[in-house]
Amino acid sequence: MNWKILNKFGPFLALLFVYVFFALLDAKITTFTALETMLLQTVIVGISAIGMTLVIIAGGIDLAAGSIIALGSVVVALLLESFQFSPLVAALGGIGAGALCGIFNGLLITRLRLVPFIVTLGSLLIVRGVAKGLSGSIPINVGHTPLSNLLAALPADQKWQLLPSGAWLMIILAALIAGMLRYTKLGRHIFAVGSNEQTARLCGVAVERVKLFVYTAAGAFSGISGLMLMSYQEQGDPTGAIGLELDVIAAVVIGGGSLNGGEGSILGSIIGAVIMTVIRTGCQLNGWPPWVTQIVTGLVIVLAVLVDQLRHRQTA
């Protein structure tokens, strides 16, 4: 087995394997509707995973992602319902709220030199609390707005778009950020900070600025995921997305990200998110109870880390 090829296409091969496995069990998973549903269900985790990938490559972690998603959905709903803002302004408001949470994390981590795990564990609770406070702890129903189309199956006359706009948004964002990582100075510096922070500092990389950027970006991306959640449920849900940060982190890790920093890829993370959706959908279509789904998902995560370890031993 050539390990270099496995390195590049590992997550993709895993996706293929999981998909073929479920397709053999039940052909329903190959229908267009099933594919469309799976893609839509991936978008929320997938967009947040783009930001999480940046954080993890830089050697950090963002445990607040799930709470930020909930806050994002609440802020969008609130701006639409209570303040009667236009959908565009409401959407930007939700994303901005996420970015603010990210800045909060980033400042605590860079200025006060606190450990990312602890800081974001704290903001996991803080942000969730803010979301509940803003909404009075109950979902804010919005009803049908133009934003609802972001994650709705396409009506027959719009099939030429191929995918709903939310899915396109994820793809475009992923491409942009992947390009940023590969072709810009900032991208290089994110890898350098995660790989060897001292060296990066020695070479004149503005380590603090890089960290502040990745956490802010992660907050903003989770804000976008919040917007998607709002669009999908047509309500701002302060208790939504609980524990979703773990799905997001798992997606990044399955996609080849290393929690020690220095490694990870946007494409890999998106594939990781898709793999988890495929497992969930596959289990549901086969009528397996949720506890089986959880066990299978857990096993896949452990397996992904194991393969990663083996791969490193080979190339070391």
Binding site: K185, R188, F191, N196, T199, R201, C203, V205
Partner: protein
């Protein structure tokens, strides 16, 4: 580049001058009025025993420390770097023993890290490749391709990448700190070619090494440091290795070392043809009851690896270890049970659990004695610890005090107390007096003498870089050089000079 210009003025102005540099850490004087200069196009070797002040001097040069007194000039202008980045950008590049590369990035990304040519944040990849190739083509090393991730490179190739990084930023002074300690003969030869090449281009190179044969081969001048002072700066062609060694060790021996009559008993530990993955290579010796066996060697010779391999902390490739009835390689827990304990050279990282109490640290290896039914009663731990606090004169408030609140010397005594509390027969001591004050040293020498002479006597295997202490404490001494352990000879047949010659491979 202004190489030609610089070469012309080579004989007149030094490129770098360090004048009357002093630095103290607390009560310790690390540097005491050191003066040092390097000419353009010169390789200047800096030698001295461990602790002589070489690394402190280089840390000041690279901006990691600030001098308490003294001044520096670079290219004739006042130079006072505030931090390593500052030094690098002004033209002083450090290549440390522990290489500092971002292993996940490629060769070219590492070389241009922090100074990527970019427009609007977008990296100009062609220029990156061009500039990286320029920096590395002088090396002509087959492994180093711009696109290779650094973690796939060998140690020697990584080192060259790091040199390349300093060249790319335009450094005119390169500091190579023990560059050959983990290189093969062939790699060393290649490195020397590159150093000569850089010298011919007018760069100034400060070469720190324990290996005097290397100094002879590559350096133009040599400066000897001892106890934080400059002893002399000489042309390498005018000075013999013998003289350098004499300058390095020339100090008086104090009567710090008690020596009671010791009765050598049966063999407690036999090490036979022991090899690790790299070091040691085929080491053999016997250690007797009532004996202190010393191992001398320079940093990187493989002494610590030898001890760690014996104790089962490092992988054993081949060979045999016999401890009484216990035979073969084992993990540390088996060795503790067989009556062998180890004192790590690295107190802070490995030797002690810094955020636990003194009592926890002292009793950690053997918790079963402190209460009925495998319970661990804090009161009994305290009682046992108090006894050592008294005997070793550990200065502290109480056994439950956190160990990182103690001074280095008292921490070291507590670390040693663990072996005594466990009551092991064989004590492996790695640099037992590193970085501690004289009073604590004297006490540790006293303890070592006690355990080797008082019945029932124990056996001590001790590593040290400090010659007087080895000569003062040990019954036999063996020297390690590049992974090879020499024969253990009676202390009477050694002196500082002979040990140093042997350790530097003369």
């Amino acid at each position: 580049m202004a190489e030609r210009e610089l070469n012309q003025s080579a004989e007149t102005t030094p490129r770098l001058e360090m004048h009357n540099i002093s630095k103290r850490f607390g009560a310790t004087i690390a540097l005491d009025g050191v003066t040092f200069s390097v000419l353009p196009g010169e390789v200047h070797a800096l030698v001295g025993e461990n602790g002589a002040g070489k690394s402190t001097l280089m840390k000041i040069l690279s901006g990691a420390h600030q001098p308490d007194e003294g001044s520096m000039r670079l290219e004739g202008e006042a130079y006072h770097p505030r931090h390593p980045l500052d030094a690098r950008l002004t033209g002083v590049g450090m290549i440390y023993q522990e290489l500092s590369l971002a292993l996940h990035l490629t060769v070219e990304e590492n070389i241009l890290l922090g100074m990527e040519p970019a427009k609007w944040g977008w990296v100009n990849r062609q220029e990156v490749r061009q500039r990286a190739s320029d920096a590395i083509q002088r090396f002509n090393h087959p492994e180093i391709q711009p696109q290779t991730p650094v973690r796939e490179l060998s140690v020697s190739a990584r080192q060259l990448v790091e040199i390349g990084r300093s060249l790319a930023v335009g450094c005119q002074v390169l500091v190579l700190d023990e560059p050959t300690s983990s290189l093969s003969r062939e790699d060393i030869r290649r490195l020397f070619e590159i150093v000569r090449d850089l010298k011919a281009q007018g760069l100034s190179i400060i070469y720190i090494s324990h290996f005097l044969e290397e100094v002879q081969e590559i350096a133009d001048r040599v400066t000897v440091l001892r106890d934080g002072k400059t002893i002399d700066t000489r042309n390498v062609s005018d000075v013999s290795p013998d003289e350098i060694v004499r300058m390095m060790v020339g100090r008086e021996m104090k009567d710090l070392y008690p020596r009671s009559p010791r009765q050598q008993g049966d063999v407690l530990l036999t090490v036979n043809q022991l090899s690790g993955p790299e070091k040691p290579e085929s080491a053999s010796f016997d250690l007797h009851r009532g004996e202190v066996l010393g191992i001398f060697g320079l940093v990187g010779a493989g002494r610590t690896e030898l001890l760690r391999t014996i104790f089962g902390l490092d992988e054993l490739k081949s060979g045999e270890i016999k401890i009484g009835a216990f035979v073969g390689p084992g993990v540390p827990v088996e060795h503790w049970q067989a009556g062998m304990g180890m004192l790590s050279e690295d107190r802070k990282e490995e030797g002690l659990a810094l955020n636990l109490s003194i009592a926890d640290n002292v009793t950690l290896s053997r918790l079963r004695d402190f209460g009925p039914a495998r319970l661990v009663m804090p009161q009994q731990q305290n009682n046992a610890t108090n006894q050592w606090i008294e005997r070793l004169n550990i200065r502290c408030r109480e056994p439950q005090q956190l160990i990182n609140e103690l001074s280095g010397g008292n921490q070291q005594k507590a670390a040693l107390a663990r072996l005594l509390q466990h009551d092991v027969d064989i004590l492996l001591l790695d640099e037992p007096t590193r970085g501690i004050d004289v009073a604590a040293k004297a006490l540790i020498y006293q303890v070592i003498d006690d355990i080797a002479s008082k019945q029932p006597a124990k056996a001590v295997l001790m590593i040290s870089s400090y010659l007087p202490e080895l000569l003062g404490v040990c019954d036999r001494i063996a020297v390690m050089h590049r992974g090879q352990l020499g024969e253990a000879l009676p202390t009477a047949s050694w002196d500082e000079h002979k040990l140093m010659l042997e350790a530097t491979g003369q």
